[in-house]
């Protein structure tokens, strides 16, 4: 939210918490956020096989979900969409 929207931290935390249906306090709680991130496909620490399973999104795949959830244009995601779309 800071990078693409230039939103200050307080507003950014409230915006993200609202989109995730969690409290602002939850955002920095790794216990809460691991479940939220997995449920929403937002990526996480990649302890393969222990934290992330084969169907859990990582890297750019997770970024697609973040862009959609937060309703923001992320340049790498937009670029990937344009490239894959252009090639059918």
């Amino acid at each position: 939210m800071q990078i693409t929207r230039g939103m200050r931290l307080k507003q950014a935390k409230e915006y993200v918490a609202g989109k995730l249906s969690v409290s602002v306090m939850d955002l920095s709680d790794p216990v809460v956020m691991l479940d939220v991130r997995k449920e929403r496909g937002l990526g996480a620490s990649t302890e393969a096989g222990e934290i992330l399973y084969v169907d859990d999104p990582v890297g750019l795949e997770a970024k697609f979900h973040i862009a959609e959830l937060l309703d923001i244009p992320i340049n790498s995601v937009e670029r990937f969409k344009a490239m894959t779309g252009a090639r059918g």
Partner: protein, 344 residues
């Protein structure tokens, strides 16, 4: 007799000060900021909070749970282990960086231009693996446009000879060359998928260096309306190497963080990074108090997120290649607590 507390000097050396000596250092640091930058002093509550932080004997200091801020980095990784993409992964996965930045070892836009194809393909590979915002960064570095590294006369040689007009003309020409190079690299990296562009150490060569950065930002913003643009300043005060350059009618020489922020925001940045110099001969408590007093009004009035530069020699962090964690954590916590920063 008061017991002494282990604390640090601005060069990182461990010293022992009494609480009264720490309080004196804090008050002197605030007074130094007021005198030099013509800012308001910190309140008594803020000074008491700094005294509380620096009177602790704990190894580490931290903000309250829930008050965490985002952490951005200028250039991720040492480039000594694995690949540059591995560096970005380490920063995301093990250091919990909130954004990561690909960089070329020269860390200036002019040399990056010569290896642009390599930088683009590396960025593209990185984007597949990284979830955090992944950007590209380098410095405007105006000095690279002067002889012997570049085509223009060297103003650092002309000025001592009294050739003021020639020195100014060379800087004005360098502004245009640098702005064009920064835009070319930024646009190319955005086309390769970069989520943001970082212009780091802006103003290092003075007011012309800062002007080149602002002009480049304007062009990047016009071409990429949604791209993140971060600027990190070189020092607390824009040096007047030219002396007469203006942006949007504002003379650049002599600007402090509040005014730097206003121009950077007008040009189109989404994150502003003030840099406040460290005095190695003063305690860290003095440096942190001075830093916070200088930046406070900038943070209060900013229309964009503020990420205070907190690293070796800036933002109260000791000028040492391995800044001690006790000092770094105190400087970071104090700045976040009092300035309500958006990031570091």
């Amino acid at each position: 007799m008061e017991s002494s507390i282990p604390t640090r000097m601005g060069d990182g050396a461990l010293v022992r000060l009494t609480p009264a000596e720490i309080e004196t250092a804090i008050r002197d640091g605030v007074a130094a900021a007021v005198k030099r930058a013509r800012v308001k002093p910190l309140t008594e509550d803020e000074i008491a909070h700094l005294l509380d932080i620096f009177s602790s004997r704990s190894r580490f200091s931290a903000v309250d749970i829930g008050d965490e801020v985002t952490l951005s980095y200028d250039g991720c990784g040492s480039q000594d282990m694995g690949t540059r993409v591995n560096d970005l992964q380490y920063y995301e996965q093990y250091l919990c960086a909130d954004s990561v930045e690909l960089y070329h070892h020269d860390y200036s836009y002019k040399p990056a231009k010569a290896v642009l194809g390599l930088e683009q393909t590396t960025m593209r590979q990185a984007q597949f693996l990284i979830t955090a915002p992944c950007g590209y960064g380098a410095m405007p570095d105006l000095g690279l446009y002067t002889v012997p590294d570049g085509p223009l006369a060297n103003w650092s040689q002309l000025l001592p000879m009294g050739k003021i007009g020639e020195a100014r003309a060379a800087q004005e020409e360098a502004v245009e060359l640098a702005a064009a190079d920064i835009f070319l690299v930024a646009a190319s990296m955005a086309d390769a998928g970069a989520d943001f562009i970082d212009l780091d150490t802006a103003g290092a060569a003075g007011d012309a260096d800062f002007l080149a950065a602002l002009k480049a930002i304007e062009r990047i913003r016009a071409r990429f309306p949604d791209l993140g643009i971060q600027i990190g300043m070189a020092s607390e005060f824009v040096l007047g190497m030219h002396g007469e350059l203006e942006y949007d009618g504002v003379r650049l020489a002599g600007l402090w963080p509040r005014e730097q922020m206003m121009l950077a925001a007008k040009a189109g940045v989404t994150i502003f990074g003030p840099a406040i110099n460290v005095n190695t001969g003063k305690p860290v408590a003095w440096n942190v108090a001075r830093t916070i007093a200088i930046v406070k009004q900038c943070c209060e009035e900013s229309t964009v997120p503020v990420h205070l530069n907190g690293g070796m020699g800036v933002g109260g962090v000791p000028m040492h290649i391995l800044p001690p964690g006790d000092a770094t954590s105190r400087a970071s916590r104090a700045a976040v607590d009092i300035l309500r920063l958006d990031g570091l």
